[in-house]
């Protein structure tokens, strides 16, 4: 029984994407990962528009002061179990925006992050493999 559940979870990670002040590079690559060439949907991923439907939270950007409360709220709204993936260098470590008064990040200062995908921006393939590794390890 448990194995069936975990298999269902692994095979159907629905994704909510939150931009917390990124430069668009990573956001575009995330969308690109759903287009025919990379086709994340073959892993059962869906890009959903409401955090209530989501299992995976993809965070891009270094978390600006404006987005900080929203990040927390979105995180709280995702029903358990959930996975957080930081996409891009600036979500993983804040660089190159570190040092700005406006930047509260990186993401792992605020909410627990399960997987980091470094790259600026990472290729869509790297994003895909990041999501899959995160889901595999957390939901197993």
């Amino acid at each position: 029984m448990f194995r069936i559940v975990s298999r269902g979870r692994i095979k159907s990670p629905w994704i909510f994407h939150l931009n917390t002040g990124s430069c668009n590079g990573c956001d575009i690559e995330i969308v690109a990962a759903f287009t025919p060439r990379y086709d994340l949907e073959r892993f059962g991923c869906l890009l959903v528009g409401s955090p209530r439907h989501a299992d995976v939270l993809l965070v891009t950007g270094p978390v600006t002061r404006q987005m900080l409360p929203r990040l927390i709220r979105v995180y709280e709204q995702i029903p358990e179990p959930k996975v957080v993936v930081a996409v891009g260098t600036c979500a993983s470590s804040g660089s190159p925006f570190l040092g700005s008064e406006m930047v509260e990040g990186p993401v792992d200062r605020i909410i627990p992050v399960d997987t980091y995908i470094v790259g600026c921006p990472p290729r869509p393939e790297a994003i895909a493999s990041g999501i899959i590794t995160a889901v595999m390890s957390k939901f197993r």
């Binding site: 260098t89 399960d114 470094v118 990472p122």
Partner: protein, 107 residues
Amino acid sequence: MLYETLRSLFRRPVTVEYITKPGRMVPVPERFRGKLTYDRDACIGCMLCVRVCPGGVITSAEERKVAFNISRCILCGQCAEICPKGAIKMSTQFEIVTFDKNGLIVK
């Protein structure tokens, strides 16, 4: 549109089956700026790379060498360009996925 879509129904999809089929990926060109590699022996400790790095990735380490915190690297390739000894190279490894950021420190 109808014609085009119906035709693609019977064609092979254009998806590159990365992950599901090992070894399949969109070809990585040779100029690709991926995770950098550091040749510690070649480094002469001139610290030029530290000065150009926009992300604060590179810090000086003991024995006049440098250390890299790759989780901060924005893969611009400027350090590889400036290094007089070619101690830093950009590899073609594009998949830098990790659970633990500290594992990404290269010395």
